[in-house]
Symmetry: D3
Amino acid sequence: MKIIYILFIFTFFSFTISRASLNDFCVGDLKALNTNSGYPCKPLASVTSDDFVFHGLVTGKTNNSFKIGVTSASVANFPALNGLGISAMRIDIDEGGSAPLHTHPDATELLIVVQGEITAGFLTPTSFYSKVLKPGDLFVVPQGMLHFAVNSGKGSASGFVAFSSENPSIHTLDLLLFANKLPSNLVAQTTLLDLAQVKKLKARFGGSG
Amino acid sequence: MKIIYILFIFTFFSFTISRASLNDFCVGDLKALNTNSGYPCKPLASVTSDDFVFHGLVTGKTNNSFKIGVTSASVANFPALNGLGISAMRIDIDEGGSAPLHTHPDATELLIVVQGEITAGFLTPTSFYSKVLKPGDLFVVPQGMLHFAVNSGKGSASGFVAFSSENPSIHTLDLLLFANKLPSNLVAQTTLLDLAQVKKLKARFGGSG
Amino acid sequence: MKIIYILFIFTFFSFTISRASLNDFCVGDLKALNTNSGYPCKPLASVTSDDFVFHGLVTGKTNNSFKIGVTSASVANFPALNGLGISAMRIDIDEGGSAPLHTHPDATELLIVVQGEITAGFLTPTSFYSKVLKPGDLFVVPQGMLHFAVNSGKGSASGFVAFSSENPSIHTLDLLLFANKLPSNLVAQTTLLDLAQVKKLKARFGGSG
Amino acid sequence: MKIIYILFIFTFFSFTISRASLNDFCVGDLKALNTNSGYPCKPLASVTSDDFVFHGLVTGKTNNSFKIGVTSASVANFPALNGLGISAMRIDIDEGGSAPLHTHPDATELLIVVQGEITAGFLTPTSFYSKVLKPGDLFVVPQGMLHFAVNSGKGSASGFVAFSSENPSIHTLDLLLFANKLPSNLVAQTTLLDLAQVKKLKARFGGSG
Amino acid sequence: MKIIYILFIFTFFSFTISRASLNDFCVGDLKALNTNSGYPCKPLASVTSDDFVFHGLVTGKTNNSFKIGVTSASVANFPALNGLGISAMRIDIDEGGSAPLHTHPDATELLIVVQGEITAGFLTPTSFYSKVLKPGDLFVVPQGMLHFAVNSGKGSASGFVAFSSENPSIHTLDLLLFANKLPSNLVAQTTLLDLAQVKKLKARFGGSG
Amino acid sequence: MKIIYILFIFTFFSFTISRASLNDFCVGDLKALNTNSGYPCKPLASVTSDDFVFHGLVTGKTNNSFKIGVTSASVANFPALNGLGISAMRIDIDEGGSAPLHTHPDATELLIVVQGEITAGFLTPTSFYSKVLKPGDLFVVPQGMLHFAVNSGKGSASGFVAFSSENPSIHTLDLLLFANKLPSNLVAQTTLLDLAQVKKLKARFGGSG
């Protein structure tokens, strides 16, 4: 009787089941071409529990000019996030360090402070919004806003960041302006920065032109 | 004169026409990898009137424990629905039968009662919403809600279901809990069901662990 | 012990519960101004099981020129559909009758034939897609396509229609062209219909100009 | 010191950078199958400045019955628009000419008049909205509305059109009704046009049936 | 000269600036009626830096049956999240405790383990996906999946959760089934649980019927 | 006979018609609170043809430091665009002038060059994309990218811009960095600009701190 039941329940639902699972998630096949809605889905038969886990959202190296360590888990290294509209990052900032001004053109950022003191803020054409944050505090940066985070306390500071995209891009202002070959005089003309200042930072960030 | 006109109208619109059709619909190519926005589109040249028709949304077999027959038309067997955000199902429930508790994680369900009496309802953490339905009545189950339908009358009952997704999945609670290999004590711990109850239903639904 | 448990479970979930329900559904408050995402939500406290039911998706009157009866359940008379992206209609067509050419600018239509024979089809700039349908057959009309349905059999025909919108609009071609005050010569100029034809149908559909 | 900095800044951002760019834009690979979210993305390494430019949104030929010239830049000839939800068109209408009644099932149209006088309007089941436009005037046609534009002044008129889709389709009413093989009596039955009128325009637009 | 410049730059941008800010974010006015797209926006003039900060994502009380503490920051207590599609939660689970089986019908969950050992998993009709997690590990639960988290180690465990919704609801299975007035025999019929089991848990969770 | 027909056609469609129109467009009521999906809709009865027209997308004044004139038509001054995802702008740049570096966090920009020569470009962390444009050329700037436009020819240059949002915001880099009260040393720390440079531009753009 039970056997019969089981067979029937699987019979009348089996069509739906085999198809439905593709819909429940879509682990990205990173070897296929990306699309506007993310990567094509890996076949269900090759999906395992391991796909849904990411290891190593730990402290990154901070031996750089901004004294910031960043590790991130997004669709490129955690393909199960494909299509799910979320990803995460861990940041660690040494005393005196900062996250330089940058935007995420395609994601809201939610910062969770875990250790130390961080002053975070974002800029609008008419104002700016900024706060000193302690462990247990959250700060939200709406999508596309130019923003910063500074270790404003003693010792190192750390936190987690959640993004409203599985594939957030990071547009660091200095890299946009000074790390490529855009002619220095064009940068100067469209920012009103002094040409000497532009050239100085171009040299520092490896740009030319 | 007319000939000339026709040529010109086809000349200046021909570019748009050839491309536009791809946009008007996207019959799914089920052999390609699925994506978060559905299947890639079958080439327009191979689309015919037959693609837009589905045959056989008729009474399904009800010789199972829940005495319910289900036939469904969704993107897997009706690829023209690809990207259109809609699909349909026919349910037939014998006297005393029911649709067991289940969710559609990705679709709202709209039930149209055609014959008999069906008591349908859905559950929320603080309440439940349920009604006795007669032919000509509709009941809506918002996306993701745990819900049921019971033949609460004499004789068999039937109805049509429309979903707000071309590929709705069905998560029947008993199958989630009792048809797989999730350890019985884990099920018991995270539901507070008695372990004996879990094992009894695991046996019935073919699960183990 | 149980009592204590219950208190605690309600304590730590109570915040979430009270808020979450607003998210699970949004029964429309039709007296408030509509928005691009639908009507504002009726307060949860005033929502009852009755909100989720619609009565009377039954045969409409067919004593008109097209011999078609239409009853519909959409957000305007079934406010629980608000935000859920689905609605339904019942059509009954007497022998020799039809649903005249029309579009739904904002919804895909899925037709389920229940009785009789219906020939349904839609038009594109380069082709048309049409089929003769019998009970148990479905036909899908992608969003925005100009389409028709004709009772092509003996006796009356009927079916259910599901829309991928809770508020589908119906743009019947004859009403657009001939039921308003748009000057007849402008209609003639932009359709190449004969002016006499335009005036004849303007008279029939109550238009002027 | 600067050198070291640069190395590190590229080290800790390099992972993000290489991936982020795919997200910043998605130049369409038109040789791949289209999807509901557009074309798959061309690999970043093959994207150049040329991809983001379109040449030739200039006056189209107007030697046709409606005396209208149309040139358009959409994803089919400007693949960088893929996924960005925008495209453009230039229209030129000789004195006495018009854009015949048509719909864009999937896009809002924003018309910018540059030269001459254009009377534009759209139709709803209960009304119509129409205005005489001069250079510097804009007119908006919401998605899916049947609309027209007539050169109502002296000399030629011209304008630019922006669409809220990278791939807007154009459904010209005359082509839908009269340029295909849909039987003339079916057109007559579902529009109430006289059969002779239908056959006359079928002949003019190259249709049959 | 600079003064003049400043005046002009503010003149020609001032129109845009005053309006643009409404678009950059939409801090929710919780006293207004909610909508399908969230709460109406608080006027810009009353928005301050304090709006973008949440205090107190700290350890919640765990003196309950499941030994779990939950604190959450979502639109209801952090209105700046309105419309931004993200929110956060902190969970702390004592040794032997768990997060009972539940779904989030409208959000993907991304769990970041900070301390201890957590075994997390979710269920599908045909399988389950589960892993033992350590600090620095992430686990993702796709939207609508029934899932659990168990402290499977020594001592207490804690983590942060990010949701892909600013207003995720929590549907705990036991509360859905046993905390309301849905008749016990209906629960038994649609789950195949023994009636005695249903009544036992109804008593425990405060339900009746 | 015709009279009777007309009465009936209006009877059986009247319900749908009155409701459908609200769905076809949603002219914004700017006096109501904005929402994440735009402004609430003005009642249909008060909508006229005038709502769908905007007058004055003409040359703006260029007597400012950047020698650029900007006029824009977006939801704030053209409320019919509400919910339609499109807007427009006209730019005129005197010889030697430019549009300074800026982003549109929420819109793609499509530039149509009408007169003169414009060099337009956008920046990414690893590259930049830039072209010299002539009349009839288009350039697309994907959402959120930092970009510029320079009059690189003789005489004045002009063009139209279409945005993929009815309410695009403009974040001019200089205004973000130098027109508010964000402390100069914080700007210097998070950009590596020299403090003197920051103070110099703060003075020029009216900022302080």
